[in-house]
């Protein structure tokens, strides 16, 4: 199966909370694994369950609301701040999301998301409010994200916005390329650089 992403056509889950830090996305006590798999079940653990008990789901939390589902997570500004744990991106991806939309992402989270083919889409505050309003009003509303065209739109409306993405990263995501493959292919150049610039 290819990792590449381009067009995502899906309903969305609106998480209208600002400054969501990676400790909320995946609390530290779930970081003891030595593999990348299986973090989705503890996504937003302490917001989903009371008293750390899976038998006590919090009914007011959107991920526990059965009317919402989909591959797109809509989040309020400064999403993914705090700890650098890549487990946060793994957990979101593992829970079935391919896209996170926000008006503002924390730097490290954004890089981690991109390295896991989880597309962070940065939109204007106004457009973000439109997305929240549309999804909150009708959970079956479909959002379309088109990476090739760098656009995001609300199906059945004229609401559409373009988003920025670094052209190098766009190529990687469209083709399923990893940074690490590129870097390994550069080892000779890196060795030449080391010879000229003795590491500090």
């Amino acid at each position: 199966m290819g990792k590449e992403i381009n067009i995502i056509h899906s309903t969305a889950v609106p998480l209208n909370i600002e400054n969501v830090d990676t400790d909320q996305i995946i609390p530290a006590r779930f970081l003891k694994a030595t593999s990348r798999e299986g973090f989705g079940k503890n996504l937003f653990r302490d917001w989903r369950f009371a008293n750390d008990d899976e038998n006590q789901p919090k009914s007011d939390f959107v991920l526990n609301n059965p009317t919402y589902s989909g591959k797109i997570l809509i989040a309020a500004k400064n999403f993914g701040c705090g700890s650098s744990r890549e487990h946060a991106a793994w957990a979101i991806k593992d829970a079935g999301f391919d896209v996170v939309v926000s008006s503002f992402f924390a730097d490290i989270f954004k890089n981690n998301a991109l390295n896991n083919f989880l597309l962070p889409v940065t939109v204007s505050d106004d457009f973000l409010q439109k997305l929240f309003a549309a999804a909150e009003k009708d959970p079956s509303v479909v959002i379309e994200v088109n990476l090739q065209e760098q656009s995001i739109s609300i199906a059945g409306t004229s609401d559409r916005e373009n988003f920025d993405i670094n052209s190098y990263k766009k190529t990687c995501l469209l083709n399923g390329y990893d940074d690490i493959d590129y870097l390994i292919s550069m080892r000779e150049e890196i060795e030449a650089f080391e010879k000229q610039n003795v590491p500090a």
Partner: protein, 471 residues
């Protein structure tokens, strides 16, 4: 046009810049720990490749270790397996490991500087957001995710885009009772927890120049809490004196060579920043947070904002935050009861922090209903504290001196704050559940935490500053 400190170091480390894309940035030093490295080693093993430059990687176990009885096997199975995986991976890839029991073991951002591994003009990364700490030496130091840890292991390089540049100047003289933690909490309260996202921040100004290296580290440590890609302070005589003679500091001719480079590391007078902020040191009072992100700070003589002081679009998250904390809008913070005091973490667990606490509590007793944990940042700090008799001061005060590790900063290992309890903490994050599910955190300086340990309440250290306290 002149160059900034950041640009001077950055340009020296660019192997190649991709058209319209990021640069391939060479990394001088890579710190690793047990939590964010195993998946990276798995990746290398799957590819059948070894760590490219193992002599530029240093490992320690800190996040997921107990801070009592470290001589015994780790009881919790998953934690034990994670630490064992680090041992196995380091052995297989030829990486120096300062594991539990090693005389150099400790919190990764404490040991790098104290061993002289962290030096000016370097690029430094670690799979931990508080890597920004090392920027206090005038290096570009930032936290990375595990995929990037794997990239650095495989090639000693990363793909990085040039961030925007910001300078934050603190001018003037700090008042008695106000320390570097208060400076950084004050900056955060002014620019918010996302105020520096997308920027590399240089801290400058007369108040910064006056600070010791350890105090500078506290400020750079929390630059990530503003969202900054990294925080840095130009090296000066304080920096050079700190490094000289440390275990892995350059020696002899190499020292002279490096010194020449280090002396070129400053922002030129005509260099331009994308953003510049200047704050006045005399305006800063001892700070404390009341909310659930580090930008939610106030002076200890202040009050939790009243609802009419909060911006309309922030009212919902503000209310959620103070509900979690069990506080009332508009209420004074002074006199607030605390249950736990945590002195530790990569922000404030160095010898100067412990000395500061000891000089305040010497001859006093902790409040009877407060539990106090002091967790030194490293084996070296622990040893020094014992040599100076600080351990006895803590013991007599009823504090528990534990063993080195990240401890109660992050609610990962055994050290957690119970649900609903209030902890005044010298750490860096007051997020919901950070110190344990439903634990409530007040971030503050070691001095303000020490005062709370004695009185059981949030107080103002300035009322005590006439006492013989080292500040």
């Amino acid at each position: 046009m002149g160059k900034t400190l950041f640009e001077k170091i950055w340009e020296r480390h660019v192997v190649k810049t991709i058209d319209g894309g990021p640069s391939v940035l060479y990394i001088d030093k890579h710190f690793i720990h047990e939590v964010t490295s195993p998946q990276a080693f798995n990746g290398l093993n799957k590819r059948g490749i070894k760590v490219f430059r193992p002599q530029q990687v240093v490992a320690t176990a800190d996040h997921n270790v107990p801070t009592l009885n470290q001589h015994l096997p780790i009881q919790e199975e998953l934690s034990r397996r994670q630490v064992e995986a680090l041992h196995k991976n380091c052995a297989e890839h030829g990486i120096e490991l300062y594991g539990l029991g090693h005389r150099y073991q400790g919190i990764v951002h404490v040991i790098g500087p104290e061993l002289g591994i962290t030096q000016p003009g370097m690029t430094i990364v670690c799979g931990d957001s508080h890597t920004s700490t090392h920027g206090a030496f005038g290096s570009i130091a930032f936290g990375i995710g595990t995929s990037e840890v794997e990239m650095v292991m495989a090639t000693q390089c990363l793909m990085q885009s040039m961030p925007k540049l910001m300078r934050i100047n603190i001018e003037g003289k700090l008042k008695p009772g106000v320390v570097s933690k208060d400076i950084v909490l004050y900056i955060l309260s002014k620019i918010t927890a996302s105020g520096a996202t997308g920027y590399a921040v240089e801290f400058a100004g007369s108040a910064i120049r006056e600070l010791s290296m350890e105090a500078r580290m506290t400020i750079c440590n929390m630059s990530i809490e503003m969202g900054a890609r990294c925080g840095m302070i130009a090296p000066d005589v304080t920096t050079i004196n700190y490094i000289k003679g440390r275990e892995f500091a350059p020696k002899g001719e190499e020292w002279n060579e490096q010194l020449k480079y280090w002396k070129s590391l400053f922002t030129d007078s005509d260099a331009v920043f994308d953003k510049e902020i200047t704050l006045v040191a005399e305006d800063i009072e001892p700070m404390i947070t009341y909310g659930t992100n580090p930008g939610m700070g106030i002076g200890v003589s202040g009050h939790v904002p009243a609802l009419n002081e909060v911006e309309e679009n922030e009212k919902v998250s503000f209310q959620k935050s103070i509900n979690y904390m069990g506080l009332q809008a508009g209420a004074p913070i002074k006199g607030q009861k605390v249950d736990y005091v945590f002195i530790g973490s990569c922000t404030n667990s160095r010898i100067e922090d412990l000395r500061m606490v000891a000089s305040f509590v010497k001859g006093k007793q902790k409040a009877s209903d407060v539990e106090v944990w002091v967790v030194p940042g490293s084996k070296q700090v622990e040893k020094q504290a014992k040599e100076e008799g600080i351990d006895r001061v803590f013991e007599e005060a009823g504090f528990l001196l534990r063993q080195p590790g990240c401890s109660a900063c992050l609610g990962m290992n055994e050290d957690k704050i119970p649900a609903g309890k209030y902890c005044i903490s010298t750490s860096n994050r007051n997020f919901e559940g950070r110190q344990g599910p439903n634990a409530r955190t007040f971030l503050a300086s070691p001095l303000t935490a020490a005062l709370a340990a004695i009185t059981g309440k949030v107080g103002d250290v300035r009322e005590y500053y006439h006492e013989n306290v080292e500040m």
